[in-house]
């Protein structure tokens, strides 16, 4: 059976793979993404759509109806992982200013759209999809309102055909009650943010005016920023509220209530664990930062960040885990291991998977197409030799984006092979 697999692999070893009309994955353990696992599964794909997901022992198939059959005993199939809240695609060498395209100047830029700066030939992207991350939410940074994110497939000729959901939401960096400042004399100082009420008033003003503008049928003059906000008010766009600290989270709840935001999502929210009794009354979805992060406070439980996903799950709060943080673009390939750490600290393994697939899809409103291995969804999934949540066993061997098989190759692998050859020949 192994030989068969290899044969298929070689036959298809071309630069791009044509979209198969109809193919099936056989005998792998299918992690559906909604908590279910099918040990010996069959997954049938036709024209890029999952047509059947079932226990292989219960289904008979006719081989000649299929362009390809992948026999994958001992392997695992997972739904595409979704990398939320990330600058992936917006820079190459991050220290080089010329390659950075994620932060505009100015404080209120809801009209700025990340997707057009998303470079499908970005150097980092191929290394990410080799680890099962097949979609990313390309997200702008900076200011109070950074701009709009979009959901991109990690495959495409350019941003136009890579995008699967353009301008899915607007990103708001919520003002902080306590600011951290640095001075030559004193070093780091954390102190009450003296500009807080000013920042809040400005923000409220902006929200109120953009809301009013959205009601106006024929505005005298088009305001690009307010135009961009219309989707927030109509509910077609999420409002991603980036907020980290306990009291700021309470302020954010108040803000959401005040403006009756139709689709709010909290992003970051590292200290949500300290205000859960209040938060669970509202249960807005949350995109957590990576679990591989230090606790903010010296007193915090050593494993506070590791335990956080389990805490949210226990309170039935819809959450996803993201890789936001230091060097987040290149670190996106570690997304599954961050879910793995959540599993190590109490979260059910399948729920950990869900936090980077189905939950993420739900938050971005793509659950009809993405997030689980279910019939009528897009055939976006990947196959591994073992547990995707654990480093040692997470090697990806096959991956499909909307039914199209993508290469599990990248420049790093090529360099590896090149130098492996060098040393072998040297001997």
């Amino acid at each position: 059976m192994k030989r068969f697999f290899i044969l298929v692999f070689l036959a298809l070893n071309a630069l791009t793979y044509a979209q198969r009309q109809k193919f099936a994955l056989l005998n792998a353990t299918a992690h559906i993404g909604n908590g279910k696992v099918i040990e010996n599964s069959i997954i049938v794909v036709e024209k890029g759509i999952i047509k059947l997901v079932a226990d292989a022992t219960t289904v008979r198939i006719k081989k000649d109806e299929y362009d390809t059959l992948y026999s994958l005993p001992g392997m695992h199939v997972y739904p595409a992982l979704i990398n939320l809240n990330n600058v992936l695609g917006l820079h190459d060498a991050e220290a080089v200013r010329a390659t950075r395209d994620y932060q505009e100047t100015g404080n209120y830029n809801p009209h700025v759209r990340a997707l057009i700066a998303y470079n499908t030939d970005n150097l980092i992207v191929p290394t990410i999809r080799c680890n099962g991350v097949l979609y990313t939410q390309v997200t702008p940074r900076g200011g109070i309102i950074s701009g709009q994110s979009s959901i991109m497939a990690l495959d495409g000729w350019n941003w136009e055909d890579a995008v699967v959901k353009p301008d899915d939401g607007i990103h708001l960096n919520f003002p902080k009650l306590i600011s951290v400042n640095w001075s030559f004399d004193e070093g780091l100082i954390s102190e009450t943010n003296k500009n807080y009420s000013k920042e809040m008033e400005e923000l409220k003003q902006f929200m109120a005016e953009s809301k009013a503008y959205a009601q106006e049928k024929n505005p005298v003059e088009k305001n690009l920023r307010f135009e961009a906000m219309k989707g927030v008010w109509s509910g077609s766009k999420n409002l991603y509220i980036h907020v980290e600290y306990a009291k700021d989270i309470l302020e954010a709840i108040h803000f959401i209530q005040t403006f009756n935001i139709p689709k709010p999502v909290l992003v970051g929210a590292t200290e949500i664990g300290h205000v859960l009794p209040a938060y669970k009354k509202f249960r807005y979805p949350v995109i957590l930062n990576r679990t591989h992060q230090l606790p903010y406070r010296e007193d915090d439980h050593l494993h506070y960040v590791y335990q956080l996903p389990k805490m949210l799950d226990s309170d039935s709060i819809l959450f996803a885990i993201s890789m936001h943080g230091d060097m987040e673009a290149m670190n996106s390939r570690n997304l599954s291991y961050n879910a793995g750490t959540a599993a190590a600290f109490g979260l059910d393994k399948e729920k950990a998977l869900q936090s980077i697939s189905f939950n993420a899809a739900k938050i971005i409103g793509m659950e009809k197409h993405l997030g689980t291995l279910e019939e009528n969804k897009w055939a976006s999934f990947f196959v591994t030799k073992g547990d995707i949540l654990d480093m040692a066993t997470s090697e990806v061997v096959l991956a499909f984006i909307q039914g199209k098989r993508i290469q599990i190759r990248n420049k790093q692998l090529e360099l590896y092979e090149k130098y492996e050859r060098k040393y072998k020949e040297g001997k």
Partner: protein, 1014 residues
């Protein structure tokens, strides 16, 4: 016109007074030299902290105490001042003041001084001393008569000047212009960028002392007034502004090295290591500066403060008492107080918290006098001493305490007139047809004044001005009455005047007022302050051990943790052992720890008596993880970096044992780390190799007999590529320049070694004392050439890696380790040939241009070529899950699990040349051991127990309890804060933050600005 006359009169008067007592000054008109003899009588005199005279007399003449005793005949020509019931103390001495030094904005650079403007031992504080009457009065009011003033900036701050606070005699108030040298770790606004870090400051101080030793020889090679000043002042006391408990230990290491004695100015947190400081027998200048009260207004505010911060707030007032109980020699300073009024408030608080009256006096008088060798003139009330005396109404510590007179050099400053007991007076009067009574009495130099309407107390404001008591009251809060009571010579009332709301004034003569039972009511006794519990946190961190501050059973924490708190014999039974000794994993084996070492490995080992037995079924045991590249647990900067080479700085000097990341590391199974200098310059500083002995002090954390290591760096950081467009002047700016930096420095180091060898081998010429100039930078580089110090070189790109190996080969040294080494896979064969080790990130890349060809297969490729390879963190977060980073080499490149585990255990031990004691589970090895819940490379496995030297420092099963304890302790302190009311509460939240260091962190730049560099 009148004004002018007054002015001129005043001028002459003052002029005369000022200059009358000086012999050499000219006189305008007849000299007005006075030699009045004062006799202060009836006093309780504290001659010093121990000797008290009751009902004694002090005679003062010409600025000196001419006699003091109980049997003194007062000559008829003396002015007798009756001070019955008053207490006399020697006036206080403050050894740490910047208040009257006006140091110029434009840094003064004296011709003939040394290269670094922050080194100015030749400077005289006297040159910048400007008597400031306002500041002087604050000191006098707080009881200080003499202060030692130093220049507030610089590393070597020069000669401090000892002055009195007498404002009458402009030249006589200077007692000693070269009283003590001052040193600090903080260069202030010195125009030279070096040193930019604490480790740099330490190196500069050491080099300067070495230079002074060299300069003391008779063969002068240069003129250097800075070094001359150090040598000339070698017998003077030296005040070291340590300003933190760890800095005391750091300064003490310098003192030991150069056989010097310092007086350590502290910050008030030294109680936190009291057990160890008590061993050192040092002298201290201690501030009474307490942390600001935490702002707690709601349930979430507690998050803003860590337990150690709350605990310091609670314990700071106990600091002097703890120092006293441990017999440390200390004096107190006003330095650091926000306002001078806080001095007595804080002093009395310290006394409430246990500082004895005797110790308080000693710390303010005789001890500071002795510290600066002035005990024959200052600090005592004895015949012949300078007449610096405080007269107070009562003893120090009493809430009613106030200074009445402060005599300085025989000049009296009257703050409150001395009015001991007077008769009690009762003055009845009728006003608007109502009968009132005034009760007045002086008690303990304080006026008690009350008005009663019939028998009801009326609320009244009053103030004593000269012979008049002015007061206001109202019985209906609408119509106010103002009044005055005029007093006679015995404070007896003479006249009463009252003015009603309509402006009608009534005068009442006071005829008969004495009354035996007219005492105003006593104010209530002060409530007893509840004292906090006296435990200390070792280290001062949330997860520290608790040890009682007064537990005298052990000398340092290492003894405590080794002996008192732990079972030294541990048997782990029936576990899976990853020994690293063979390639197989041993299942169902026992491991015995005895005497800090692994003593036995085998099946079914006998259980020794008294052993802690751990059932290892299902558990995996590995050697402790070693992080080859870490910047946690450092204080005051990770980069000196201001020069292309800073080989002289040592990270081991600036270890911060309080960093919670040490404990977080332990929770990830990390037991030892190399604390590296940053990568801002080609030749960085020397490494500190530590074990995570949580709670131990700086010296005890260091790995005994660890070989020397030093950080080198290549590429973008040392070229300053990502420091912004202004950073284009420091050599090198290209990889071409980097090579030349190394060539240049090693050639100079070779020459240095030759010179040194030559110096010690050639015969000495009689009559000429010649010293070799020890150059700390060259010493470090020389050690590399001699194979005694090993290089860990930050590196990325293959070209530069190859370059450094070629430079090394040509100059005869080895590059021990290339760290980061992300393109190591391209030159693995060359590295193997050179004998270099590799210490790589598992999968980092794309953060800057030179890492664009980094691959996660690096470690696997290097390993397979035969290069000893490690995975490191350079990051406090990643450090605590290095086992998982190692596991990535199974995913990328297919190393075996045993090979992968070695990447973070045995291999780093080898490259740190510690594999004779770490990195394997083998009898005789250090018992640095991790017990994992499952296979150590699995994401699902957790470190359950971490041992260092056989001591169980981390036990996961205890963490929830510890967290609960932290929360309950915080809540106890928060309750204490709330009980104390809104008094002293700050208006807004503000506190110092903590910084996580990376390779590229610069002390003088915010990380935010550098977020794109690594």
């Amino acid at each position: 016109m009148i004004k002018k006359i007054v002015y001129i009169f005043f001028y002459f008067f003052v002029f005369e007074l000022l200059y009358s007592q000086t012999v050499t000054f000219p006189h305008n008109g007849a000299p007005d030299n006075r030699h009045t003899l004062y006799a202060l009588t009836g006093l309780e005199v504290y001659q010093d902290e121990k000797n008290v005279l009751k009902n004694a007399t002090i005679l003062i003449k010409d600025g000196k105490i001419t006699d003091c005793g109980t049997q003194i005949n007062i000559p008829p020509h003396a002015i007798k001042i009756e001070l019955k019931g008053c207490v006399a103390y020697p006036s206080f001495i403050d050894l740490f003041s910047f208040q009257m030094i006006e140091f110029p904005e434009k840094w003064p650079i004296k011709p003939g001084s040394g290269w670094n403007p922050a080194v100015m031992p030749h400077e005289l504080a006297l040159d910048y001393f400007k008597f400031n009457e306002e500041k002087a009065n604050e000191y006098r009011k707080s009881g200080f008569g003499v202060v030692l003033s130093s220049i507030p900036q610089g590393i070597f701050r020069g000669y401090s000047v000892l002055t009195t606070l007498n404002n009458q005699i402009p030249n006589l108030n200077v007692i000693k212009e070269k009283c003590a040298q001052f040193i600090s770790f903080n260069k202030g606004k010195s125009p030279e960028s070096y040193p930019s870090s604490l480790t740099g400051a330490i190196a500069l101080i050491r080099q300067t002392f070495y230079d002074a030793l060299w300069y003391s020889g008779s063969d002068k090679k240069e003129k250097n007034i800075s070094l001359e000043a150090i040598n000339q002042s070698s017998l003077l006391p030296v005040v070291f502004d340590a300003n933190d408990k760890w800095n005391i230990f750091r300064a003490y290491e310098i003192a030991k090295e150069f056989k010097k004695e310092f007086i350590y100015k502290t910050s008030g947190n030294e109680y936190q290591r009291i057990h160890e400081l008590a061993e050192l027998n040092l002298k201290y200048i201690v501030p009474l500066q307490y942390p600001e009260k935490p702002l707690i207004q709601d349930p979430l505010d507690g998050l803003n403060y860590s337990l150690p911060e709350l605990r310091h707030w609670e314990m700071a007032p106990m600091n002097p008492a703890i120092l006293e109980k441990w017999n440390l020699r200390f004096c107190l300073t006003m330095f650091g107080l926000n306002k001078s009024e806080d001095f007595f408030k804080n002093l009395f608080k310290a006394m409430d918290y246990g500082l004895s009256h005797e110790a308080a006096i000693k710390a303010l008088t005789s001890e500071p006098a002795k510290f600066i060798g002035m005990e024959n003139e200052l600090g005592y009330i004895r015949k012949g001493m300078m007449a610096n005396i405080i007269i107070a109404n009562t003893k120090l510590g009493d809430k009613k305490f106030k200074i009445l007179h402060h005599w300085i050099q025989g000049t009296p400053y009257i703050f409150n007139p001395a009015t001991p007991e007077t008769e009690a007076y009762q003055i009845p009067f009728s006003f608007k047809n109502q009968t009132y009574q005034i009760f007045t009495r002086y008690e303990n130099h304080t006026l008690k004044f009350e008005i009663k309407l019939d028998t009801q107390k009326v609320s009244v404001n009053f103030k004593e001005n000269g012979s008049i008591i002015s007061f206001q009251f109202s019985t209906d809060k609408k119509n106010y009455v103002t009044g005055l009571l005029q007093l006679g010579p015995d404070k007896n009332p003479l006249f009463l005047a009252l003015q009603d709301e309509k402006g009608k004034t009534t005068w009442y003569p006071v005829l008969q007022a004495k009354s035996e039972n007219a005492k105003p009511e006593e104010s209530k006794k002060d409530s007893i302050v509840p004292l906090p519990p006296t435990y200390l946190l070792y280290p001062h961190s949330s997860y520290g051990y608790t040890v009682d501050a007064f537990d005298k059973g052990w000398k340092n924490f290492k003894n405590f943790i080794n002996a008192d708190n732990q079972k030294s014999t541990v048997l782990i039974k029936n576990a899976t052992l990853w020994t690293n000794d063979t390639d197989s994993i041993l299942e169902g084996y026992d491991l015995l720890i005895e005497n800090k070492k692994i003593s036995k490995i085998g099946k079914k080992l006998q259980v020794p008596a008294d052993a802690m037995v751990i059932e290892g079924n299902g558990l995996h045991v590995t050697p402790g993880i070693i992080d080859e590249h870490s910047h946690i647990a450092l204080q005051g900067g990770v980069n000196e970096g201001t020069q292309a080479s800073t080989a002289e700085v040592r990270m081991g000097d600036v270890v911060n044992p309080d960093d919670v990341n040490i404990f977080r590391n332990l929770a990830g199974g990390v037991t030892a780390v190399q604390l590296l200098h940053g990568s801002a310059n080609p030749i960085g500083g020397q490494s500190g190799l530590i074990k995570h002995r949580w709670g131990c002090n700086i010296q005890d954390m260091k790995i005994e007999d660890a070989p020397g290591f030093i950080k080198f760096a290549l590429g973008e950081n040392v070229k300053q590529s990502n420091w912004g467009d202004h950073a284009i002047w420091r050599f090198p700016q290209t990889r071409m320049g980097v090579e030349q930096v190394f060539v240049d420095h090693f050639i100079r180091a070779k020459e240095y070694l030759n010179r040194k060898k030559d110096f010690y081998s050639r015969p000495k010429i009689k009559g000429i004392t010649e010293n070799f100039r020890i150059d700390l930078e060259m010493e470090a580089l020389g050690e590399i050439l001699e194979g005694k110090r090993h290089i860990t070189c930050h590196s990325y790109v293959q070209s530069e890696i190859n370059m450094l190996m070629k430079v090394a080969d040509s100059l005869g040294f080895k590059v021990n380790t290339f760290t980061h080494i992300l393109e190591g896979y391209k030159v693995a064969d060359k590295m193997k040939k050179h004998g270099a080790n590799a210490s790589s990130f598992a999968d980092w890349w794309a953060y800057k241009n030179e890492v664009m060809e980094a691959i996660p297969y690096n470690a696997a490729l290097l390993t397979r070529v035969g290069v000893n390879t490690a995975i490191n963190s350079d990051d406090a977060e990643m450090s605590r899950r290095l086992n998982h980073e190692a596991a990535k080499s199974i995913r990328y490149g297919g190393l075996s699990p045993v090979q992968s585990l070695k990447l973070v255990t045995l291999n780093p031990a080898k490259m740190l040349r510690l594999n004779h004691r770490m990195g394997m589970l083998k009898p005789g090895m250090d018992a640095d051991i991790v017990i994992w819940s499952g296979p150590p490379l699995s994401i699902y496995s957790k470190a359950e127990k971490t041992f260092v030297d056989g001591v169980l420092y981390y036990d996961r099963s205890q963490i929830d309890n510890k967290r609960n304890w932290i929360e309950s302790e915080k809540q106890r302190i928060i309750q204490f804060i709330l009980q104390s009311g809104s008094d002293e509460s700050p208006k807004s939240f503000r506190k110092k933050g903590k910084r996580q260091y990376h390779c590229n962190s610069l002390e003088w730049v915010n990380d935010e600005e550098l977020e794109h560099i690594r």
